[in-house]
Symmetry: C2
Subunit: 111 residues, 2 copies
């Protein structure tokens, strides 16, 4: 896959820590799986390899989803929002997305 | 609707600016509409009124979605993720969610 173009890069607004939030959605069912963060390097690697690569804020390192757990995410498409400060990733998730073993991370009800 | 309980509040990890990212998803179709931010006051108002209230980072004020445009969001459920630093809001969106007039904000392809 092609590297990210300078024109595209200009439209992405990373925050002051160089990060952008990414929503991972199962491409065929519409289930929202998780939210994580990318920096430029993880975005570049995601586009280059077709596998979702995030930036782990807790470990301060690149996090290629599934390298430890086997629960990889194949990138189907990456969509930037209107003001350039959030990404929606349509993915194909193998197994559970959540480290708890649940399919998605949003299992606690606030209302 | 009830106010937020101290037990629930303890589980929410607002960032250093007192904000938490919120993914708004159309409850019946699964379409991801937008991503925005809440502070404690907007979360409290959302739970109290059943209408989505965000914190506008650009205007630095509470933003009750639809007050200007008429494109309101009715809260169906609010779900906190496993590590407490993101919320998935299932909503019923009237009209377009995006200020551009599009139904959702994610219309620019990066890959």
């Amino acid at each position: 896959m092609p590297a990210i173009s300078p024109e595209t890069l200009k439209e992405i607004r990373f925050d002051e820590q160089g990060l952008i939030p990414v929503i991972a959605q199962q491409h065929d069912t519409g289930e929202v799986l998780m939210m994580a963060w990318m920096n430029l390097e993880s975005l570049t690697q995601t586009l280059a390899t077709g596998r979702m690569v995030y930036w782990s804020r807790s470990r301060n390192e690149l996090w290629r989803k599934g390298d430890t757990s086997g629960h990889i995410q194949i990138m189907k498409s990456l969509l930037l929002d209107c003001d350039g400060d959030a990404i929606l990733a349509k993915v194909d998730q193998t197994g559970p997305a959540c480290h708890t073993g649940k399919r998605n991370c949003f299992f606690r009800t606030l209302n």
